[in-house]
Symmetry: C2
Subunit: 210 residues, 2 copies
């Protein structure tokens, strides 16, 4: 197996953090996003959409989407469980993972891809026809980010971890999102004390270095 | 348990199709989206973000996000499996579900919420501060929709079902997305013959009526 990986970007980091938490070793192939390697012919012969990360299995099949790659490894190596065991845990982890993605992660991606000159013409991740930046999405991103931070802070006021009483894939997703958003100049509001408490703990785990 | 449900909208339909495929009966409480019931105080006391569907458990806990609700039932009632059994099946289903959501479903939601006057001020689903429509997102949606249709057609040229050789949650997601997109005037291109073959089969299943 080979994991096509990239520095800096949040989705590859999510997979690396997941693998670090599970102590799973996988051969990694670095893809240079800054040089546009993910949009070149060689990589796109493997991954037509040109997205990173991607997992190439030994039979040549390629799996894209960071959550799908992590669920593949979860099925192979169930312990420690990061997607839940009891039905309600499974549901909470999936629910919070998706809320973080739809509100927080989407806000950061909107702000970065539509507000930063380096992403001109690349409003969507991966290989697409030219997609113009939409500056109004940066304003929308600020509304989404504020709503995300408020909801997550309320959740962490009542729960030790994002999805309840156990560290999970939702915590990995939240950390990757918050660190990514900082690059898009979306930061946590001053009053988000419960997120701050949680952040200090998750950012100190060895997996956060991955 | 109570499932807060709504006619017309794609996410509640995804849950209804899933439940129909599994022959699971759940008490349903209809929420009137056209009348704004999901944004009213009573519903928001239960679901602060004002999104539908939501599953209220017997102890009062509320689970949001259609995929999370379906995964909850999958854990309780594993057969027939709709999220996969073997690791590679699990990964394919998750990967395609997310691609359909990120490219096809997002395109439909962009086009509808930013292009239809009835959604003025409600650019995001659920309860948010006023979010203005962004007409440029309707153009971006067309690019995304074309890319989604092309990728899905290629996948269905080589596979009987969206995620391989078995009907799964990815097929449910694709059907809900394609039917939803039609309301946003995003239709399948003429040449998408493999999607057409697949659509005829999935749309004829009793679950499609749910």
């Amino acid at each position: 197996m080979k994991l096509y990986d990239a520095a800096w970007a949040p989705s590859p980091r999510r997979v690396r953090m997941y693998l670090a938490e599970k102590a799973i070793q996988v051969e990694r192939v670095p893809i240079d996003l800054a040089a546009g390697e993910h949009l070149g012919d060689a990589y796109r012969a493997l991954v037509p959409r040109g997205v990173v990360p991607a997992l190439e299995l030994d039979d040549g099949e390629v799996i894209v989407e960071s959550a799908a790659i992590c669920r593949f490894f979860e099925a192979l190596h169930p312990d420690p469980p990061l997607f839940g065991v009891r039905p309600v845990e499974i549901a909470r982890i999936e629910s919070w993972t998706r809320r973080i993605e739809a509100e927080g992660y989407a806000a950061a991606a909107y702000a970065l891809r539509n507000g930063v000159p380096a992403f001109a013409g690349r409003g969507l991740p991966g290989h697409w026809p030219e997609v113009s930046q939409i500056p109004a999405l940066v304003d929308r991103a600020r509304v989404m980010w504020a709503g995300f931070a408020e909801a997550l802070d309320q959740q962490l006021a009542q729960n030790e971890w994002v999805a309840g009483d156990r560290y999970s894939f939702a915590d990995i997703t939240a950390l990757a999102t918050i660190d990514f958003a900082r690059r898009a100049r979306l930061t946590l509001p001053e009053g988000a004390e419960h997120i701050a408490r949680w952040y200090g703990i998750v950012a100190a785990r060895p997996s956060a270095e991955a």
